[in-house]
């Protein structure tokens, strides 16, 4: 059955967005990512204008992350304190990122910088996660991890003010840490035009040293607030949110997120990291292909950045 999308001005077979929502929602519930880096390009491939695809995806992520956060909260996997601190940083970082985009566009090489940032960030993060989690899986089999190997940087960080105990994650950090790191992710996410879940997850795992399952729930929690903000701004400023398309997508993604949360409980943290790393690397390879292969059409709708 086909439905007409009033803002995208196109018609779509409803099975496609519902199925797409289901798959991306599953990834969201499993790994704590919004899935924009997968969903937006797929929607564009289906003929949805780029700006509408990105805006509508953020609306859909509101639903998927609500569903996912709810599922993870029920099983005690959301660190609200950490989530709030990351959000504060992410909000400030987003403001800087938007300014950075303006400067890049004025300089005339925005697209090049954005694409390169994307490839490099995805490639480095994917490769690091894959190698690290495979190594730790091997180590765990042989012996328990060494009890203490504190670096100079880690000792220095302990002298920062506002040392806070994040009970849910079982870590003690200065509150400035998640704020600054959230800000860093916020800048990059705004430049790349993505939600930043796939950046935030490794930051929480490797720098904030949070357990993987709490990372997933907490990431979804802060994605929920980010996506609400982005959806509202897109609807208010650019009039690009397609309500019909968002409803079709969220029919799949809300259920997918629940299923993902259930599956996630059955997998170990390291296994989750390996799978996420592989997905991130596959997306990186896909982008590299797109950059190097001649496109079939040399013109596309203007909009976005």
């Amino acid at each position: 059955m086909y439905l007409y999308l009033p803002v995208a001005l196109t018609s779509i077979n409803i099975i496609i967005p519902i199925g797409l929502g289901l798959v991306v929602g599953l990834l969201s519930g499993l790994f704590g990512v919004g899935g924009g880096f997968l969903m937006t390009p797929l929607l564009i491939m289906l003929g949805i204008p780029a700006t509408v695809a990105a805006a509508t995806d953020s609306n859909q992520i509101v639903a998927a992350s609500t569903s996912g956060t709810y599922a993870h909260w029920k099983i005690g996997n959301v660190d609200f304190k950490m989530g709030f601190h990351l959000l504060i940083g992410g909000f400030i970082g987003g403001l800087f990122g938007v300014q950075a985009i303006k400067i890049l566009v004025a300089m005339g090489n925005a697209d090049f910088v954005i694409k390169m940032t994307y490839v490099l960030m995805l490639g480095i993060i994917g490769a690091y996660m894959l190698v690290e989690s495979l190594n730790s899986m091997k180590k765990n089999k042989v012996e328990d991890a060494k009890p203490e190997k504190e670096s100079g940087v880690a000792r220095l960080l302990k002298f920062l003010p506002l040392q806070t105990h994040y009970e849910k994650s079982g870590v003690i950090h200065s509150a400035l840490m998640p704020i600054v790191l959230g800000g860093f992710v916020g800048v990059l996410a705004a430049i790349m035009g993505v939600g930043g879940g796939f950046l935030m997850v490794p930051v929480m795992v490797y720098i904030l040293r949070m357990p993987m399952h709490v990372v997933v729930g907490t990431s979804l929690f802060q994605i929920l607030f980010n996506s609400i903000e982005v959806t509202f701004l897109q609807a208010y400023t650019n009039h690009n949110v397609d309500f019909m398309l968002a409803v079709l997508l969220l029919l799949g993604s809300t259920i997918g997120a629940q299923v993902g949360a259930v599956f996630g409980r059955k997998l170990k943290g390291e296994q989750l990291k390996v799978i996420l790393a592989v997905i991130v690397l596959v997306v990186t390879v896909k982008i590299i292909f797109e950059l190097t292969m001649a496109p079939s059409l040399l013109l596309s709708q203007a909009g976005g950045h």
Binding site: I75, V241, A246, V247, V262, S296, S300
Partner: protein, 269 residues
């Protein structure tokens, strides 16, 4: 059913009236020498976009003099379009390199003819009536381009882009003709793409003889959003605040709703 255009009679004073009547009689006498009549009728001239819209079909039919070739043009009003142009950065990577502006470009442009237009119409007539891609290439302005070669290249890319969206078609196989009582009946059925946005589209049939257009007749196709589609697109454009709040509220409700259902079903516990 509409016939070839006739001048309107205006004026209140008697002299003006006589002049107008004389002009009208002269036009009819001249017109009948050129062609008895050319008629056009679009069977689906009001297309409504509702929730289940997935494009439509439009058929165009009418009568013409026997022995004339026919060209049917369906086009949107001239507009302008901004498109991103892809190119190679650093000679290696394909990415958006800038924006091109296409001025006087109709959003939809269908040309159907009984034979290939190059074989039945002179270049001059094609350009006068903007019939065919070659005439369209002279009609559309592209900026910024530095030379003719670049212009030609981006025009052909523009056609490829439009054809990929089913918005531009040039074909000489769709029109069917039959002769009846010394008249030629014509009929054409064409798919109407869902990509064509709401608006008014002009349908013109041209009768062609000796490489010249001897007569034309026009009708219109109106594409309009109705019902919930009209309501949503109007709200998205005119009341972004409310639209945004409703979109977010529905998404939050759906997320919580599904969460509750799974909880009751014991999915996560």
């Amino acid at each position: 059913m509409r016939k070839a255009q006739k001048p309107e009679v205006r004026g209140q004073k008697l002299t003006c009236f006589f002049i107008a009547v004389a002009a009208l009689l002269g036009f009819i006498a001249f017109g009948s020498n050129v062609s008895a009549e050319l008629t056009i009728n679009a069977n689906h001239s009001h297309i409504t976009i509702d929730l289940f819209y997935n494009g439509s079909t439009v058929s165009v039919s009418g009568l013409s003099d026997a022995g004339t070739d026919l060209i049917i043009k369906i086009a949107a009003k001239d507009g302008h379009e901004m498109l991103k142009q892809k190119g190679k950065a650093a000679g290696l990577l394909w990415m958006n390199m800038g924006t091109l502006k296409f001025e006087h470009a109709p959003n939809l442009y269908f040309i159907h003819s009984t034979k290939k237009i190059d074989d039945i119409l002179s270049m001059e007539e094609m350009n006068n009536y903007v019939i065919g891609y070659s005439a369209l290439s002279k009609h559309i302005e592209i900026a910024p381009v530095t030379n003719d070669e670049e212009r030609t290249r981006w025009f052909s890319e523009f056609i490829r882009y439009k054809e990929a969206s089913n918005l531009y078609v040039v074909s000489s196989e769709q029109i069917k003709t039959t002769n009846e009582n010394g008249k030629q009946k014509y009929y054409m059925k064409t798919d109407w793409p869902y990509q064509a946005p709401p608006g008014e589209y002009l349908v013109t049939v041209y009768a062609v003889k000796d490489k010249k257009i001897i007569e034309k007749a026009e009708t219109k196709v109106l594409v309009e959003q109705v019902g919930i589609i009209k309501m949503l697109s109007g709200m998205a454009a005119n009341n972004g605040t409310m639209y945004g709040i409703i979109s977010i509220a529905v998404a939050l409700g759906a997320g919580f709703g599904v969460g509750m259902v799974f909880r009751k079903g014991g999915g996560a516990h």
